[in-house]
């Protein structure tokens, strides 16, 4: 479904992504792991259009989306959540998700119809599936950190994506919250027939949940494969035990 081929991105002198490759098959739960600074968020930004690659391609459903702006990529069926809660602080929780649904329904520019009557069912169902129904009327900015992360995911779901990309969905969470979030992600994958790509640096989390794992180190793909493959790969063990040495 999604293929990233030999992608490069530099910021002035710093090579953030150095020829990474990634394959995501439809219906699977794929994870990208790597230590902090490995280039995971940069890679995601390259996929979803916030950044333009210096070299390489991003191909989605056989279409080259490398040079498209973010909003067009979203319309193609990719939705994304961000590492730092990237919500609409002054709007209510309900409105946060509704805006996303309206965008997907191509109703963002409707001028003379009360918004509160549109997309109500879809919005409520999404809020329920992430557990925020009881806080729908609260201002998004006033939510607790964990709830804001849930809202993050809810906003992305509003786009009815084929591929959902989650950037460090469990960042800053306690072990209980982490487990709950991973369960949520697995549930969403099943109930909404989503393909999910996420990144993490907590390996336990990843090995329990993902069906395919790509290991990223200093902007380069070390290996991509099933959890056992990756766990047993000598390259990976070297990388993580050897420290900052390039592999």
């Amino acid at each position: 479904m999604l293929r990233v081929e030999k992608i490069h991105k530099s910021f002035d002198d710093f090579k953030a992504v150095n020829g990474a490759n990634l394959t995501v098959e439809k219906g699977k739960l794929v994870a990208v792991i790597g230590p902090n600074g490995a280039g995971k968020t940069t890679l995601f930004n390259l996929i979803t259009g916030q950044l333009k690659a210096d070299q390489g391609k991003v191909i989605f459903n056989e279409e080259d989306i490398s040079s498209l702006p973010p909003y067009k990529i979203c319309k193609r069926g990719i939705a994304r959540s961000f590492q730092i809660a990237n919500i609409f602080p002054r709007l209510t929780v309900f409105r946060n998700v509704q805006v996303s649904v309206l965008s997907q329904q191509e109703k963002s520019r409707k001028l003379f119809y009360p918004a509160k009557k549109l997309a109500v069912e879809e919005t409520n169902s999404i809020l329920e599936s992430v557990g925020l129904s009881d806080r729908a009327g609260n201002t998004a900015g006033s939510l607790a950190h964990g709830d804001q992360r849930a809202l993050e995911i809810a906003i992305a779901l509003g786009n009815k994506p084929e591929l959902l990309i989650l950037d460090e969905p469990t960042a800053g969470m306690s072990p209980e919250e982490t487990t709950a979030t991973i369960e949520l992600i697995k549930r969403l994958a099943d109930s909404r027939e989503l393909t999910i790509l996420f990144c993490e640096h907590d390996m336990e989390v990843v090995f329990n949940a993902a069906q395919s794992i790509m290991v990223l180190h200093q902007g380069l793909t070390i290996i991509q494969g099933e959890p056992d493959q990756v766990r047993n790969s000598s390259q990976v063990q070297e990388c993580y035990l050897g420290g900052a040495e390039p592999c």
Partner: protein
């Protein structure tokens, strides 16, 4: 379309206010009727600006340019051509929106401060041309004695004309505010990058908002000509644009009706302070400083917060 947009209580309140405004000219002196008409015009400009600033998050620093374009267009057409009145009146907002589209398309490529500074540059160009083209626009003196049809040129006539147009415009702006377009615009204000990520073409959306807002500014410009019978290059000058900005801030720019309140306060203060002292600008500066330090949400914003929190407390107490 309208059902469910307004609650019964607020409809009654609005109806009452409207009724009072309707009968006022018969009981108050002519001077106050004139001042109220000026307030109506100013309120419309402020509301139109707030559409892009408070609800859109754009640094529209030279909104007055569009107001002035609307006013000058109608003034020029009324004095130099013999086209029917209604054509001239409609041409004002259309011209303003066209200029808005042109300038907006230029500026929307940039963000925040650059947007604001580019807009001031382009708006000042318009001001400079109007200021110097003496033969066409009367330059520094402006244009006076513009032929307005007598039904609306009298003090009461202008008042009612402005009131009715203002009421219609506010209703339309409210509908837009409550529509998906308005909701998305506010989302763009809060987080434009996130909107891009959920599939919104942010630049196009902002541009449409600018065109709508400048259209209303143009309408306000037409009203200005009707109420004053003249037009001045000051309308196009950036200082005036910043004053409109202050009105929105004063009233509360995250609220819907805040700018109206801001316009009421500013025009009233300017008129009455002006009677006692020639240093109105000094007072305005002090008010602005007080606002920045103590009331950044504006007067109405502050009121809403106070009542909003009390309302919430009451609910919580009641449910225990």
């Amino acid at each position: 379309m309208f059902k469910g947009t307004f609650s019964l209580k607020s409809l009654i309140l609005l109806g009452a206010i409207f009724f009072v405004l309707l009968i006022l000219p018969s009981i108050i002196p002519r001077f106050y009727t004139y001042i109220l008409a000026v307030i109506f015009v100013t309120a419309l400009v402020a509301m139109s600006l707030n559409m892009v600033v408070g609800h859109g998050g754009l640094f529209q620093f030279h909104h007055g340019a569009f107001y002035g374009v609307g006013a000058y267009t109608v003034a020029l057409m009324l004095t130099k051509t013999s086209l029917p009145i209604w054509v001239c009146f409609v041409a004002g907002p259309i011209m303003a929106a066209l200029v808005g589209l042109l300038i907006g398309a230029f500026c929307v490529r940039l963000t925040r401060l650059y947007f604001g500074m580019l807009q001031i540059s382009l708006g000042s160009l318009i001001w400079a041309i109007a200021f110097r083209w003496y033969s066409l626009t009367g330059g520094d003196d402006g244009m006076h004695g513009i032929p307005i049809p007598s039904i609306i040129s009298s003090s009461k006539g202008a008042y009612y004309f402005a009131l009715i147009i203002l009421a219609i415009c506010i209703m339309v702006i409210y509908l837009i505010f409550k529509s998906p377009f308005g909701a998305t615009l506010q989302a763009i204000r809060d987080n434009p990058d996130r909107c891009e990520a959920i599939g919104v073409n942010v630049k196009r959306h902002q541009l449409i908002a600018i065109v709508i807002a400048t259209f209303f500014a143009g309408i306000a410009g037409v009203l200005f000509v009707v109420v004053e019978g003249s037009v001045f290059p000051d309308l196009l000058f950036w200082v005036f644009s910043l004053e409109i900005f202050i009105m929105c801030l004063l009233g509360g720019w995250f609220t819907f009706a805040g700018p109206i309140l801001g316009a009421v306060i500013m025009v009233s203060l300017r008129t009455f302070v002006g009677i006692y002292t020639e240093y109105w600008t000094l007072i305005l500066g002090i008010i602005l400083i007080l606002l920045i330090f103590f009331l950044p949400e504006g007067v109405w914003g502050y009121v809403l917060e106070k009542f909003g929190s009390r309302h919430k407390e009451a609910i919580e107490k009641g449910s225990k």
